[in-house]
């Protein structure tokens, strides 16, 4: 049984189709890259899987259970978490407090008001996360002072607090400087692999996608243009045309009348 199964997902905003009969299945331990131009429906896809938006029609199943109409907080507790394009952290709190709050509410299905937040137990757990995501140096800094890359890491660290089986990362390296991109992804991917988490990540940087994804989904106007190993998808003609852009590095212009063929021209 696949971990996540999406069947015939449709979502329209007025006349714009964000999801057009999308169907796919993700097996456990897969690492899937999602690419597509802006407005192709990638973030909407992530929003729908995590319950922030609801599809017009279609089903989303997680471990065989229908989660289509659940709220984000229910989906989080089931084991699916996400990070955000723009990091969603608690700006006025310190990095450590951000993690403590996340850990504190994750512990118990009903948030406790009788226990204290700053217990040794939680502080230790926070320390583990701080180290794993290279946030230790920023421990006592308020989140609004953090540089973008560090804020992204905090955002991702907060996403894994619930020990998800499935993690969706929305543009984990956007806004991160070029020289930091690989560093950030290395940190994140190693940590996730160790924990055996299934990952779907949305990315614009094709180098990142090529390096970390074992499978790539290419979105375009709500449709999945291609689905396969990175070499195949990244070299796919229509993907080149609609996602990567003609003339960009690695792309080749096809003759105007040729019908798209499967298989890559990488």
């Amino acid at each position: 049984m696949s971990l996540l199964e999406v069947t015939d997902l449709n979502k329209a905003f007025g006349s714009v189709k964000a999801a057009d009969a999308i169907s796919l299945a993700v097996a456990e331990h897969e690492v899937v890259g999602i690419i597509g131009a802006n407005g192709a429906g990638k973030t909407t896809f992530v929003n729908m899987i995590t319950g922030y938006q609801k599809p017009d029609t279609g089903r989303i199943e997680y471990q065989g259970r229908d989660i289509t109409l659940l709220e984000p907080r229910q989906i989080t507790r089931l084991g699916i978490c996400r990070s955000f394009q723009v990091p969603q952290v608690f700006l006025s709190a310190t990095v450590e407090d951000n993690l403590l709050i996340a850990l504190g509410v994750a512990e118990h299905p009903r948030v406790p008001f009788w226990r204290k937040l700053r217990t040794d137990h939680l502080l230790n757990e926070a320390a583990v996360l701080l180290n794993r995501y290279r946030l230790a140096d920023y421990r006592a800094q308020p989140a609004h002072q953090l540089p973008q890359g560090v804020r992204k890491l905090l955002d991702i660290a907060m996403a894994v607090v619930h020990r998800p089986r499935l993690l969706l990362l929305d543009e984990p390296t956007s806004g991160v400087s070029l020289d930091e991109k690989f560093e950030v992804m290395d940190i994140v991917m190693v940590a996730l692999k160790e924990a055996g988490v299934t990952v779907l990540f949305v990315e614009h940087d094709m180098d990142i996608v090529g390096r970390y994804a074992k499978r790539v989904l290419a979105f375009y106007e709500g449709l999945i243009l291609a689905d396969g190993p990175p070499e195949e998808v990244l070299g796919h003609e229509r993907v080149q045309e609609h996602v990567i852009g003609r003339g960009s590095a690695g792309g080749r212009r096809p003759p105007p009348d040729s019908a798209p063929k499967g298989g890559g021209h990488a």
């Binding site: 907080r73 989080t76 507790r77 952290v89 006025s92 948030v111 204290k116 937040l117």
Partner: protein, 312 residues
């Protein structure tokens, strides 16, 4: 951290309770009412930390007062503890019911909706002949576990009750703010989406906080009604809510004792203003408020904190 607050609160309350014995009547009355209203401000503190400002706490203030009055008049309940429990319970129950609606709103709409509810009660009270309409009605003095105070110590037990209620409320809230639920207040204010994605229902959390704030305010209403000896619809008017908000800003959110200190200061300020400039006391209060907002944005407690640090 907790120990320091615990000791500070305990010492402060004991000092106040003991010192109160020597206070002249007008001062004891003032402090009693100030502590009672401080409870309402404490409630607003919780909400403000969550990023919400209620302009309708007068609803629960009046509910507390009128419940105490009605329990006395209709059921002949005179025990202060029972009245306190009754008023608090009614306020909490109403907030629990209204909370389903209120918890869905934020910012200015939260403020407006809460104000609307308090004005609905006001309108109902004014039109109610049975409850004395705009005149309201009087409350007979309370007894304390059978003991009926009189003479020199007439107001003392109520004063002590106010001190005790304030103390336990502050302590309870202090503990609450140290818990994950309490930490959620600032989290919700900063980023509701993230809170939802952490598995918490923001609506439920806000609902709980409105009930807490309501219970505190209701308790304040009971004690105020007992102290003044009279209840009228003015307790539900928007200007009463405005007063609570005024004091919240005055005190700042820096400490759990700030609402009470700020409330006492406010009552003192108003008494003197009314006494020495009866025709311009609002001018005085307004100017003070403006100056505070301009120069002490974190409330008076932050000044106090700065002084303490410099002394240390």
């Amino acid at each position: 951290m907790k120990d320091r607050t615990l000791w500070g609160l305990t010492a402060g309350t004991l000092l106040l309770a003991a010192g109160g014995v020597w206070l002249p009547n007008w001062a004891m009355f003032l402090v009693t009412v100030a502590l009672a209203k401080g409870l309402a401000v404490l409630g607003l503190l919780i909400l403000w930390r969550t990023g919400l400002m209620s302009f309708g706490q007068a609803l629960y203030f009046a509910l507390g007062g009128y419940t105490a009055g009605l329990l006395g008049q209709t059921f002949h309940v005179r025990d202060a503890f029972l009245l306190l429990a009754g008023g608090t319970a009614v306020s909490a129950a109403v907030a629990a019911a209204l909370g389903f609606l209120i918890a869905r709103y934020r910012e200015i709409f939260f403020a407006m909706l809460t104000m609307a509810f308090s004005m609905i009660l006001y309108g109902a009270l004014v039109k109610s002949q049975a409850l004395g309409s705009t005149d309201g009605f009087a409350i007979t003095p309370a007894t304390f576990a059978g003991f009926a105070p009189s003479g020199a110590i007439l107001k003392l037990p109520l004063f002590w009750l106010a001190c005790a209620t304030a103390y336990f409320a502050a302590l309870g809230l202090h503990r609450y703010l140290l818990s994950p639920m309490g930490a959620l207040a600032v989290a919700i204010r900063d980023n509701e989406i993230r809170v939802e994605y952490l598995g918490v229902s923001v609506k439920d959390a806000v609902h709980v906080k409105t009930v807490l704030a309501a219970a505190l305010t209701g308790a304040g209403g009971v004690i105020t009604a007992l102290a003044v000896g009279h209840i009228d619809p003015e307790m539900a008017y928007w200007t009463t809510s405005g007063e609570f908000v005024f004091v919240t800003i005055l005190s700042g959110t820096g400490s759990i004792a700030a609402p009470f200190a700020g409330s006492i200061l406010f009552e003192l300020l108003r008494s003197f203003a009314v006494q020495y400039s009866p025709y311009t006391w609002q001018l005085t209060m307004g100017s003070v408020l403006l100056l505070l907002i301009l120069f002490v944005p974190n409330g008076l407690w932050s000044l106090f904190g700065r002084l303490l640090r410099r002394a240390a």
